[in-house]
Subunit: 222 residues, 2 copies
């Protein structure tokens, strides 16, 4: 039946917004059913308990998150064949997407769950862990492609560099939310972009005669 799915989605929508603002412990089921316009029995028809709500919420969030990254980086990939340029472009697109959010980033459920670990069962913690590992794999894959072509200026561990992307995003969200400066997150992503650019793009020798900024679309493979 489709009506059920629709109600379920509405509950999840309301719950997600509430949880990102007040945490799981701060979000009451009563308030969710009030805003959704459903009864308590109706709520428990869809979710056995709060833990199952959290599970559904987190899974949906992660899926959506993955979808967004897929879109952004595949779009970037279409625009340029070079792995470094497409990664840099992806970060640019990501920062634009983030700065286009009208009220800033609402918060990351992965971080919320992280700061709530003891309230949930192992399954949900494992889901969360896998989400972060998926980020590591995703960015790690792209970075390995880059490193196959561009030797990094400094020796770096690929996984650690991949984690840096996640770190800056998660940290940027915290900063942005706390400071109430929606743009901080986007700026942090661009700062990360500068880092990646500096790490892989060969040193541009100051041109002696001809001006203009040299744009290296390709460089010597190693």
């Amino acid at each position: 039946m489709r009506k059920g799915e629709e109600t379920r989605t509405r509950i999840l929508d309301v719950a997600e917004a509430a949880v990102l603002q007040k945490g799981f412990g701060g979000t009451s089921i009563e308030e969710l059913i009030a805003e959704t316009g459903i009864t308590k029995s109706g709520f428990f028809y869809h979710f056995r308990d709060k833990n199952e709500l959290a599970k559904a919420l987190l899974n949906r969030y992660i899926e959506n998150d993955e979808r967004i990254y897929d879109e952004i980086f595949s779009r970037a990939r279409e625009l340029t064949g070079d792995p470094l340029q497409s990664f840099l472009l992806g970060l640019k697109l990501l920062s634009e997407l983030l700065s286009d959010l009208p009220n800033g980033h609402p918060g990351c459920l992965v971080a919320t769950v992280c700061y709530y670990e003891r309230l949930f069962d192992r399954e949900i913690q494992e889901t969360n862990r896998n989400a972060v590992l998926a980020w590591r794999r995703r960015f790690g894959l792209m970075l390995r492609e880059i490193m196959a072509v561009y030797p990094p200026r400094e020796p770096v561990d690929v996984d650690q560099l991949a984690d840096m992307v996640s770190s800056v995003l998660e940290g940027g969200i915290v900063l942005s939310k706390t400071l109430k400066e929606p743009n901080t997150l986007a700026e942090q992503v661009l700062m990360l972009r500068t880092f990646v650019k500096m790490l892989f793009l060969p040193v541009v020798e100051m041109p002696r005669v001809s001006g203009g900024s040299a744009f290296h679309g390709s460089a010597e493979p190693h």
Copy 2:
């Protein structure tokens, strides 16, 4: 009286550990008094309500946090006069301190409060905001000193770069906790160190004849 302060501190200790594991909403006063060995009345003698507990908790956490950064970076400052080298050394010391934590970083209360905004009054949100701004000021000050001597290889905004330190720390904590990899946080700090090093340290021309890694303790002032 000193006995009162002692009990208060004990409550705060227990509360801090609990809040970092379960969030504010997930931490019950009853569990705090059980673990502290105090009665409910005793608890409410020290704190009017949960909000005031949160306020005391956050203030104490921030003070301690500031103290740690003061120590680390003043120690680094004593060891070298160069602003860049002392900053890089500070990050090194910080990463060592973080990797020495036996069970990994327990979590940042600033982030916890950030993901709980709506549950607290404006005062506590303002306190949180100011804590992040203090970080920005602290790291910004050091970075400005660096930039007065070392021209950055890429144009960067000082405040954004200062925020990068906070971002990586906050994000690293989330990753470390979620992955249950205590060392990830320390690695992220070192990765940030690489970024700063690369940004400010002049390009090392590959030595044609003599080997060994050239370590630039000083460079030309701009």
